[in-house]
Subunit: 253 residues, 2 copies
């Protein structure tokens, strides 16, 4: 069984803690963080500390703090023999100050209070040597069936791709909601469509799944839509996405 110390008390730290509590192949032996209030969340089930000089020995130290605090927190672990791994999509492996450096990046959006099934969440691992990688692989497989070994450059790109399909997609949902509200329509009307749009690309490529006026090169419908929009950013976005979609399919039309 792998012993783990979690450093950090945020949303991801909590989700990881819950995931590890469900496997007998790994256990969290301590949670260390600055925020005494947040530590209380963990205190009933595990040893907690806000003293970064009294971190227990463990096989893996998971540094789940804000990106700009990773280097500093890892300093407190520089003398440890276990693997020190951060959980960020954007920070390079070499930000870690320890002999065994690693990354343990679960690619998902984590909502406070909503338990997720970790078995389907891709965990992207990286390590500065094979022993480190082997330990992180064992740890990742203890909670997920989707374990990928990727390097720091790939991880940066993946994080960028995630911004498009998660952050920007959510922004589009917000535009949809605003247009509905503007016409006294419930956002509920769009929810099944939002789910089905996401489900479709689970088995079709987005290129195959594309529909709509821009896909068909239907200039009339696009002009009609543009007339209905008042918000400048929405107009710009409509044009940009439509032109981009038309460009992808123009050879077929």
């Amino acid at each position: 069984m792998l012993n783990i110390v979690v450093l950090g008390t945020g949303n991801l730290a909590k989700h990881l803690f819950q995931a590890f509590s469900k496997t007998d192949k790994a256990q969290v032996v301590q949670v260390v963080g600055r925020n005494q209030d947040q530590l209380q969340w963990f205190a009933d089930s595990v040893s907690v500390s806000n003293d970064f000089s009294s971190i227990l020995d463990a096989d893996v130290y998971l540094v789940s703090v804000k990106d700009d605090a990773i280097a500093e927190v890892s300093q407190a672990l520089s003398h440890k023999k276990g693997v020190v791994a951060h959980t960020s999509g954007a920070v390079p492996l070499y930000a870690i100050a320890a002999e065994r450096k690693g990354v343990f990046y679960p690619l998902q959006t984590f909502t406070k209070g909503k338990t997720l099934d970790f078995s389907t969440i891709p965990i992207c691992i990286e390590g500065n040597d094979n022993v480190t990688l082997g330990i992180l692989e064992e740890l990742a497989k203890s909670i997920s069936e989707q374990v990928y070994q990727i390097n720091s450059d790939q991880r940066k790109k993946l994080h960028l791709a995630a911004v498009f399909v998660n952050n920007f997609t959510n922004y589009l949902y917000g535009v949809g909601e605003a247009i509905c509200m503007d016409s006294n329509l419930s956002f509920d009307l769009l929810k099944p469509l939002i789910m089905e749009t996401a489900e479709k690309v689970q088995y079709l490529s987005p290129k195959e799944a594309q529909t709509g006026p821009a896909r068909r090169g239907d200039q009339n419908s696009m002009q009609e839509h543009l007339k209905l929009l008042k918000d400048k950013k929405q107009i710009e976005l409509y044009k940009l996405c439509s032109v981009a979609i038309e460009h992808i399919y123009e050879k077929e039309l």
Copy 2:
């Protein structure tokens, strides 16, 4: 039981036919269309015809053809006493040439060959009088628990909102896929995130669900991301969405 004639043999016509075959409150008595090959799909289960002058009498005629053919097809029904309703998001009620004019618009994206649970699909109805509305409501409720009465102006806006949350969202999925492919990463990595992003707004508003660098006003991360992008349209899209998201939350930061 309501008798229905379906006019049209496309994707939506097939999905509607399947949905009505599961209820005992409505039945399709005939499918009429020009395309003999497509009519074969229906021919084992129902009377079919490619002759628009021999349409059977029914309570409701569902005109499920391309937007620009609706007015013409409805001409063939102008003498009928039943409700003539089209199934389009964009065409006004008054495109229908019949005494009882209606709209029966299921708001969903329909994939060829994939059966959907109609009970959760919003059906937006409109009619030129209360009798027409009552018949369409009965018909909609026979297959869906989500029936909304909305007017033509609202429906246009709803269709526009659907373009944002469906067509443009799918385009963003494609950008994510392209970024992955460019770095030898499987698009599978993004699939759970795509699902969870859609699931989140089923119970949180998009404004509450928003995360990411733009949401946090994290200029460093955004600059790093822009450096990774080469495609001009992707760069423009990244800037546009980020500025728009920052704008929404700037008062909070």
